[in-house]
């Protein structure tokens, strides 16, 4: 019983896949911007023990990191309406991405902030910087630079994890794949193509992060000596 592959039957729906991939990327981009921002804010609270926000941040991080994304998503989409907060599947998906990435990037950025040498902070203090000025001008950029690869990996993980959003009918890439294979029953071909698209997006995100890291975070041409 030989199965006959028929990729054409899936490629017919190519525009759906591309649209889905576009949605996935949008979701990831929006999630990254707000998630990393949230992560930075929580990281300061935790690293510098700003009460009571450090406790709130700790609780938030633990709650999110130790429960599955899907459950968080369901809670936002199906649960919050009971409390009177109704949002579309897009808003729910974005919110879930943001709080998820926010929790992980809190931990990552915190590690970077804590790796800041004491001397850097003391130099700032002795120049009469305020705590916030020290963070903003002295700690932040080198910390981000240190953890940038880890952050980009986390964004890729979250991008791949966003597949789960298809369960609340967010029409991203996995939604498109499942939609197509429910029409043509070509699950294997559809998933194979989808996998390739995910992989390409992951490579692309890594590249974008590298470029962003080089020109926005480091802000200098990376010749050999600048590695340190």
């Amino acid at each position: 019983m030989a199965y006959e592959f028929d990729f054409a039957a899936t490629l017919e729906y190519g525009d759906l896949l591309l649209k889905g991939a576009g949605f996935t990327l949008t979701l990831t981009a929006v999630g990254s911007v707000f998630g990393i921002t949230l992560g930075i804010a929580c990281a300061i609270c935790r690293a510098w023990e700003i009460r009571p926000f450090n406790w709130i941040a700790t609780g938030y991080v633990e709650l999110i990191r130790n429960t599955p994304f899907l459950v968080q998503l369901f809670f936002i989409f199906f649960g919050l309406p009971e409390l009177g907060v109704r949002m579309s599947e897009w808003q729910a998906a974005v919110l879930a991405m943001v709080i998820n990435l926010g929790a992980y990037s809190t931990e990552i950025v915190r590690a970077g902030v804590q790796a800041t040498l004491k001397g850097q902070i003391e130099a700032g203090e002795s120049l009469a910087f305020s705590r916030f000025q020290i963070f903003r001008h002295i700690v932040l950029r080198p910390s981000l630079q240190r953890v940038w690869p880890a952050l980009s990996s986390q964004v890729i993980i979250v991008m791949l994890g966003s597949a789960v959003c298809s369960q609340i009918a967010t029409e991203e890439l996995t939604f498109a794949a499942n939609f197509i294979q429910s029409r043509n029953f070509r699950a294997f071909e559809t998933y194979a193509i989808t996998t390739v698209i995910y992989f390409l997006m992951a490579l692309g995100i890594r590249q974008v992060f590298n470029l962003f890291g080089r020109y926005v975070i480091v802000r200098r041409p990376l010749d050999g000596r600048a590695r340190a």
Partner: protein, 242 residues
């Protein structure tokens, strides 16, 4: 009246009694050198003067205002006191010139153009005008330390604290930094420095302070003390480092 006056200060780290009642006066234009064994409390003393370490007892006055134990807002004080560290502590993500400009802009709120000019003046003073746009990791240790001095100077402090500013340098780079410090001293800057460069201490400073086990064990005119140490501890110390 003295610019910095330190009165019977005490400092503990947990159980460790690091400063056991230090009293010291520094007048405007003085160059004071603090020497002593590792662990005798030299750095700790220096760091209390700009509030990097709080004190447990006693009082410190800088330029007339008291530094109160446990005080939160030390900004006014720190504007009067500059500090240079052993490890330079330049901001690695900023160019040399930007290192010098940053506090001018952020803390003093000076416009970018004006800050640039002031930074350039400070860089020129330490002989590094042409390295304005180099990143710290493109500079030698001696150059980095001179940038650190320029960064402190640009804020026009009343007194400059220097903690072993040449200890992390290769021997042939030591002099370029000491020359800058010497020049500052000649120009009348008030300096309090910890150093292991005995010859420099002898030649440049007005007053030598020998710390031993958290106390000022001996102090006075360096030219006199180096020849006639008053205690066996100072005598042993001078012998061990020269």
């Amino acid at each position: 009246m003295s610019l910095v006056s330190i009165n019977e200060i005490h400092k503990h780290f947990g159980d460790l009694h690091v400063l056991k009642g230090i009293t010291m006066d520094v007048r405007e234009g003085d160059v004071v050198t603090i020497i002593g064994r590792s662990g005798s409390g030299k750095s700790t003393l220096l760091r209390t003067i700009n509030g990097l370490e709080g004190i447990d007892d006693g009082a410190i006055h800088v330029d007339g205002t008291e530094l109160v134990a446990g005080q939160k807002d030390l900004r006014a004080l720190r504007l009067k006191v500059g500090m240079v560290f052993q490890q330079f502590n330049l901001f690695p993500h900023l160019k040399a010139g930007e290192n010098v400009m940053l506090a001018l802009k952020v803390v003093k709120g000076i416009s970018k153009a004006e800050a640039r000019e002031m930074a350039m003046a400070a860089m020129t003073k330490v002989g590094l005008a042409e390295k304005f746009d180099a990143y710290p990791d493109q500079l030698s240790g001696g150059q980095q330390q001179r940038v650190a001095i320029a960064r402190a100077l640009a804020m026009s402090p009343k007194v400059l604290l220097c903690d072993e500013v040449t200890s992390a340098l290769d021997p042939e780079l030591v002099n370029e930094v000491l020359n800058v410090v010497r020049q500052l001293a000649d120009e009348g800057m008030t300096l309090i420095m910890v150093t292991h460069e005995m010859r420099f201490a002898r030649d440049v400073s007005d007053k030598l302070v020998f710390m031993h086990e958290g106390r000022v064990h001996e102090s006075g005119d360096p030219k006199h003390l180096f020849v006639n140490p008053g205690t066996p501890e100072l005598s042993a110390f001078i012998q061990s480092v020269s």
